[in-house]
Symmetry: C2
Subunit: 268 residues, 2 copies
DNA sequence: GAGTGGTCTAGACCACATC
DNA sequence: ATGTGGTCTAGACCACTCG
């Protein structure tokens, strides 16, 4: 183990940065680099336990806080996850592929199939739904071309796959349009919201998805059961338009980025 | 300020968790919550300086490391950015919208326009390109239906917008196909790589984009000039197929998630 | 019970930015 | 010159997990 440290002391002086002749990386980062290199080198595989705080303190002769800082780097990078009382483990990435274009093809949802069926095959999906009517949020109003104070039907859903929450979804529809339809019920019936909209004469035919990634807020960490560090969320804002080009629904989705790959297929 | 702390001591005992009757949030998190709430409450606006370590130590009567930990939460959430020697500031989000579908429409790139022109209007874009030939990387080989050991033309590009690096792009093409064409040059000529592929009888007509988000690796932090904390990257793997359905190019893109929104428009 | 990560204290020195 | 964040030490107690 000492030889390990000697090697790193030898590589401590690195290529010069702007002003100084010698720039030394902070200790915690060099420790993190070692661990990262070892992981990339397959010394530790998915699920393997990494050296803990005490190991690193002994190996590198540093204080506990410095060892923690080094491990914190890997947690922040999402390369490792901490299990309290047990250790820090290498993380893997085995995502759900979300087929985005074909999912919304007319023949699929018009027949009554869930738009989710293509994505997750035969894995067990549980959905909890809450519906309410409320004033349109400020950031949604312009997307639906509504005025502040106008009311919307708000459908909040939480998707749990194999007992693992994977997505939060909040859908906004003009209250005047959907009032009295099954859209205001928890169960929207066969074909879901879009089939009901079609029956109401507002069939959605064009879609826009705006995708961004960011770090989660605490309530999202809790609702999605994310690890406290290193897991971004993907935010999708989908707007559905009628043939006439009028927006009829806005759906804000928040996805655990460690669980998803979004797939978009299209033609030139 | 004392009253502020008193309020929080009052709300310190929270809704019960699994076993314990009383669960107390760690100090650093309650401090972080205060700051987050203040930001959401518009007490601090984009670019405003937040209370620093010394402020928080005095306000909350905690040690420096605890105050640092609280600020670290906001940095990790990407809500704030640290400027050494100056302070910690509220961050904003003013993204480039990347129009993904129309960008690749045939008439656009066939006419010689850059696929980027639609995205960024008249802002100044600089591209640095490196081209080389190499053995196909293991993770790319199956996408291009190549065997290990087969060679590919590798085009590495770095896009800098208004002196801010925003995207890294690595494109792989079968070496046998593109050898001798302008694709192996830094400047691929009018219409770019796809126009040259068309001339070679391998016109791409179908595209697949797989999108994921993750935390950046150190070399990506450096290459993209990211803040060290709180900024995920978006990874796009685009595969281009010919009319016959054969993959002809794989392009791995890495985007600063704080700089981009991906927009996908499509029809039912 | 021994080991793990999670939180916290009370100091210290440094590089950097601003005035 | 002062204040800022960045790094680091050397302790401590806790809750949790596992054998």
């Amino acid at each position: 183990m000492l030889s390990l440290e000697m090697r790193h002391l030898a590589t401590m002086r690195r290529a010069a940065r702007p002003t100084n002749v010698l720039t030394t990386e902070p200790k915690y980062r060099r420790i993190a680099e070692d661990l990262r290199a070892a992981i990339n080198n397959r010394d530790y595989l998915h699920g393997d336990r990494l050296p803990g705080e005490n190991d690193l303190m002994a190996r590198y002769q540093v204080a506990r806080m410095t060892a923690r800082q080094a491990l914190g780097v890997l947690l922040n990078e999402g390369i490792a996850v901490a299990h309290k009382g047990s250790g820090i483990f290498v993380r893997d990435f085995d995502p759900i592929i979300r087929e985005s274009l074909t999912r919304l093809s007319h023949d699929r949802w018009a027949r009554g199939a869930s738009i989710w069926s293509a994505d997750i095959a035969d894995r067990e999906l549980q959905v909890t739904t809450r519906v309410r009517e409320d004033a349109v949020p400020g950031h949604v109003a312009p997307l639906l071309v509504l005025d502040v104070g106008d009311h919307v039907c708000v459908r909040e859903r939480r998707f749990v796959l194999d007992s693992q929450p994977v997505m939060l979804s909040t859908s906004y529809l003009p209250a005047d349009v959907v009032r009295g339809s099954a859209i205001t019920q928890e169960d929207t019936g066969p074909g879901g919201t879009y089939a009901r909209l079609a029956e109401l004469g507002h069939e959605p035919t064009r879609f826009r998805e705006d995708v961004r990634a960011r770090m989660p807020q605490p309530h999202e960490i809790e609702a999605l059961g994310l690890f406290a560090f290193g897991t971004p969320v993907i935010e999708i804002v989908r707007t559905a338009f009628t043939e006439a080009g009028n927006p009829i629904e806005v759906n804000e989705m928040t996805l655990d980025a460690s669980a998803y790959v979004l797939r978009y297929d299209f033609e030139a």
